[in-house]
Symmetry: C3
Subunit: 361 residues, 3 copies
């Protein structure tokens, strides 16, 4: 039997790498909670599933097959923090796989009777479903839910769709998937430029972290001095011998970049309006920059954007942020597929589809 620590506080304080086994079964990830769970091997597997899903759903027959894969499953999307983007992406990922969905989007409804603990509330809602996809403002709450579920007689897997400021593993996943797609599967050896508010941007931090999975990647961090990448990530990169430069001169790193990852200023984390004092305009990508970058360079953004990327840039084929967003749906569907171990059925269908195409033409 799996050993689950009885003491939540103790587990929570444990270093992430040490507690991953509490959230896996039979050597596979069971709950998706941390970016640290995304090893290269798992990433490759998820990308293959996502690619296959895209492939088979190009025909109606394939799409109907995909939506039969998990047609016996019910998921709860528990999103008590506003997030339409991630919410819709997960919802449609469920729809792709035929999963039926229930939504909780408002704490006022869910805590209807005062005095029920939030643990009881979540356990209640889990009674009716086979999967919980959860976004919560409190750091650790999603992890605690997974821990609690694993202690019950009827555990259901939990996917973290954003938990406080700390973890949002499927966002990191979709970013790496987008790099993977853009480089035909070859992230090794690429130069990636990250631009903007690197200090407070969760996405650039996770993406930097995940680069440890690839060989000979080099990074450039472009930011105003007030919002430089934090020392913990820089230390991590040094430890893993991942070369990086820091600069405030965006133009200087553009010509060599294989990917430029733009971010907006995270002023929702301001404590005293510090964002307003910073001139962010040197960290904008403008139409004129399209002439400077490589023909193969891709421009990414986790969205929503403000003025960091001129809308005129959208029409350039190298602007892939809309595709990046759409990738989120596919790779989340892949994650859910993986958790329910349906991936092999997708591949089988793919093979039979391809042979059908071969024979029919």
């Amino acid at each position: 039997m799996r050993e689950i620590t009885d003491n939540w506080e103790e587990l929570y304080e444990t270093e992430v790498s040490q507690k991953l086994r509490h959230f896996s079964r039979e050597g596979r990830m069971y709950d998706c909670l941390f970016a640290q769970q995304l090893t290269r091997e798992l990433l490759e597997e998820l990308f293959t599933i996502a690619d296959n899903l895209r492939k088979i759903t190009k025909t109606k027959e394939g799409a109907d097959h995909a939506s039969s894969l998990l047609s016996d499953k019910r998921a709860m999307l528990y999103f008590v923090q506003p997030s339409t983007r991630t919410f819709l992406s997960f919802l449609n990922a469920c729809h792709l796989l035929g999963i039926k969905t229930s939504e909780i989007r408002d704490t006022s409804t869910s805590s209807e009777v005062k005095g029920e603990s939030s643990e009881d509330t979540v356990r209640t809602f889990s009674s009716y479903v086979d999967l919980i996809i959860m976004r919560h403002p409190t750091p650790g709450f999603v992890e605690k839910t997974a821990w609690l579920m694993n202690r019950t007689k009827r555990p259901v897997p939990v996917i973290n769709a954003g938990s406080g400021k700390d973890q949002h593993p499927t966002q990191a996943l979709l970013d790496v998937y987008t790099l993977h797609k853009s480089f035909d599967g070859e992230i090794d050896g690429k130069k990636i430029v990250m631009v903007g508010d690197l200090k407070r941007g969760r996405t650039v931090r996770s993406l930097s972290y995940l680069m440890k999975n690839y060989k000979n990647v080099s990074l450039a961090f472009v930011s105003p001095k007030e919002f430089k990448m934090e020392p913990d990530i820089l230390g991590f990169l040094k430890k893993h011998s991942i070369p990086y430069v820091e600069t405030a001169d965006f133009m200087s790193v553009m010509p060599e970049a294989d990917a430029i990852y733009m971010t907006r200023i995270q002023d929702e984390h301001d404590t005293s309006g510090e964002s307003r004092k910073v001139d962010y305009s040197p960290f904008y990508f403008k139409k004129e920059h399209l002439k400077i970058i490589k023909p193969s360079c891709v421009i990414m953004h986790p969205l929503p954007r403000r003025d960091e990327i001129e809308t005129a840039v959208d029409e350039d084929p190298r602007a892939i942020y809309w595709r990046q967003e759409r990738n989120g749906m596919w790779v989340r569907a892949a994650m859910i597929s993986y958790i329910f171990k349906t991936n092999e059925k997708i591949i089988e269908c793919c093979i039979s589809n391809v042979s059908k195409i071969l024979y029919d033409t």
Copy 2:
């Protein structure tokens, strides 16, 4: 390739008939935005689809067939203006056809991060779906969304479910469909009486407009003098030689009517409480009037009603406003079917169903 004007303002100012081609593909309507798109030919086609859908869904087998037609599609219902009636009607139309749905019903959630343009927001949401059904308070916003979508590499069709005060084409469609059903397909030659606040009622204006598709129809406009039909519609009728009379004497036109279209006073458009100054009671349909009208006359109302129609009238078979409302679901399902070109599959199924019935009995 289709030519899409680059300048939105210019396109928006263009006369409707001149811009329809920007919203069609291969000679078919692609986005449903304007009542002006509803030609007689298209109306007849949509009515046939709606009739066939009703027919096949009478059996479970037929209903299951209907809900397999678009089972590979996902729709977004973007309704940021309250409208439960139209919303539910579209939602269930999607369900009929097996389309999976996502809902955006609250701008506060969707514009969660301030600073994102509404164009970006809509484009984001469209990433995950194959169809956008949109209701928006800003005139032209739905049209602009369709225009924007058509400029992207991954356009999805857009259906207008009510855009400002100007356009609500599927409401007009369901009204004409109800006439069509009531008259066994023969709208030509009928006398239609429209009653109430004709000045500010969007439905009576659109319905009058669509009468140009039929032969020898005559209209009577019954209203208080404050809320008479606007000159633009009267001019349009004259231009197309559609005879009409205007009167405040409801009783005088009742005996000849083939259809009586009742409307409520549109006091939400009052600027200084002008509705309260008008005696609306002569424009009520009462139980006693049932004796005056033709045995074949139908009583319609776009609903919701207040006191314009006594509830005692509901039980008369000529009171068809509840059926009219239900028609909305069917004809919207037909519209979606048409857009995705699945109509032929419905007809096939109908034929095979009919032959099955013939052989089985």
Copy 3:
């Protein structure tokens, strides 16, 4: 033809047993409105359906069969009173059976245009669906909806999911189903202890009432003197010769109990803070009590709980309140199945599944 009284007020004042026939068809319950409709025969039938549904949905094939049973149906969940628990349970019951769902959860959206009567609103929404599941704060409103629907040309069945303080029949149903499951179908002869705020708890009142369906059941009511069971229920028990005791000494009745039904204090019904004056702690079930009760005794709670049951009790196999909650989904699915007469198809599938298992092994 069924006779439906024309006068709502008159019908509403009629004693429940006298009006049941207005809500049945062909000798079967058509609308589920009152606990009084739950005869022993009907209960047994619903329990069999629920058991069969659980059995067949253990395999993907069975689950897919279950969700094909009512795949041609559309339901509206009209929950204008907050209730996530009951809502999710019904929603997932619909999903289990393949029913497509629409939700109305907010009166402000539904009564968007002032002046529409709530009867018209409900009739509107019913236009698009085949089933209404309704929770409403106004006593009698759900019943009135069913009465109105039955008078239209297109009636749809109505299920009461909680109507004012008076009726919540599916809660009573799930409680009896839980007893049935816990006692292997033998509720006859059992000793059931109900604990807490018995005066104002709707669940204990309904459960007591339904005990009339079983033989030789005896009850113990444990409560503070301020919240004793009301005389109407006590009178009912005397009339049906169901023995009961009343006590404030919880410990004294624990050792003999076959089931202990815990409830929380219903302080939302306080008129002047009377709950705060009562010492509720003698009516808590604590970990130490696990030693006192029978090895076969079950501990139930309608949830949500506060402090009435220590969380340490949750891990004891006799604590079945989480299973009780999950039972709600199954037995509600059974109720919907029954109303649409699909129960026989479930049983057939069950039989063929069982024979498949027999032959395959």
